[in-house]
Symmetry: C2
Subunit: 195 residues, 2 copies
């Protein structure tokens, strides 16, 4: 009905991966939450690795589309960075970690194919950010892109680790500040940042 069982499973699995980690959920959990039997989950995703890869693929696809939309809709650097930040932390409101960050934390326990795909996802974001910054006239675009991504991922992790149900993200200011400073510096070779 509403949505396909397959899509439902993908959503549930993604949620688990972003709050408990890949190793900490089972086909049994998925089946129970979805209201079907374990074997039926295997019907849709023969192995857990296949499921993990499918989650990453779906995420990749959705994320790329969103990035493209930002590039298309937002003409100005500040606007693009703001939209990116919003997109990035979109799930955090639901208490979810960014998928790549969550997976990175258990990298050595992941199947190789998943490691590679997750790394690829990070690279895509980094490349997109670098392009946006470079087009916006920011010097050292690659380095600044890394700074931004690191702040977002790190902020999500630290905020997530600190807060049981804590207030908003104590690092939102930081990211906003970093964006502002990047925009401010877009036309010169250096710029200010207030503290």
């Amino acid at each position: 009905m509403t949505v396909s069982t397959r899509q439902n499973l993908l959503d549930i699995a993604a949620r688990h991966m972003r709050s408990r980690g890949y190793a900490a959920f089972s086909y049994g959990d998925l089946a129970a939450e979805c209201g079907i039997r374990k074997a039926s989950v295997h019907h849709h995703f023969p192995t857990k690795e296949a499921l993990g890869l499918a989650v990453l693929d779906a995420h990749q696809e959705k994320f790329s589309a969103r990035l493209q939309a930002i590039t298309d809709d937002a003409a100005d650097l500040r606007e693009r960075l703001t939209a990116y930040g919003a997109l990035f932390r979109e799930g955090s409101g639901d208490g979810l970690l960014p998928l790549c960050g969550a997976l990175a934390a258990e990298r050595d326990a992941l199947p190789q194919a998943m490691r590679d795909k997750a790394a690829g996802l990070l690279r895509v974001q980094l490349d997109w950010l670098t392009d946006v910054l470079a087009q916006g006239g920011v010097a050292h675009a690659a380095r600044s892109a890394m700074a931004l991504l690191v702040a977002l991922e790190g902020g999500a992790i630290v905020g997530w680790g600190l807060s049981g149900v804590a207030s908003g993200h104590p690092f939102d200011d930081l990211v906003a500040e970093l964006c502002a400073s990047l925009c401010a510096g877009a036309k010169g070779s250096h710029h200010r940042i207030s503290h």
Copy 2:
């Protein structure tokens, strides 16, 4: 002999938690690596939660001592921040994630007591950093401390996720830069940061 079995188990468990995650290693793994039987691991740590808490306690103790040593030995702000950065990423050379960051990623799958202790550990670091920055004359010490911690945790995660066996940490520069900018700003109300 050499070191106590208990300490050996703690070290092995910490290594697993920082590379695979808490959910992804078992008493069987520990026993095999330590050269004893599973039941003997239970003799030292009756439950997995007790083991996890002991790892966190040991980490806490060691870390606090190191922080105290930095406060004692390094008089100057820049020196202290440099020492902190070095301490923080000390294990990264061995391909390990910071303990708190790694645990944060699977927070919802952890026993409540471990969640709390991990959050406490983060808080300790944040408070220490805030003190150091405030004493160093940095304005908005709390916010800057958060920026630093976020950069370090995020950098570790992103670097870890990106690199199979990649080069050094692509974010080391960023952290050094952030430290430098904080030091530079220590006497004024604002400062420059180069890009």
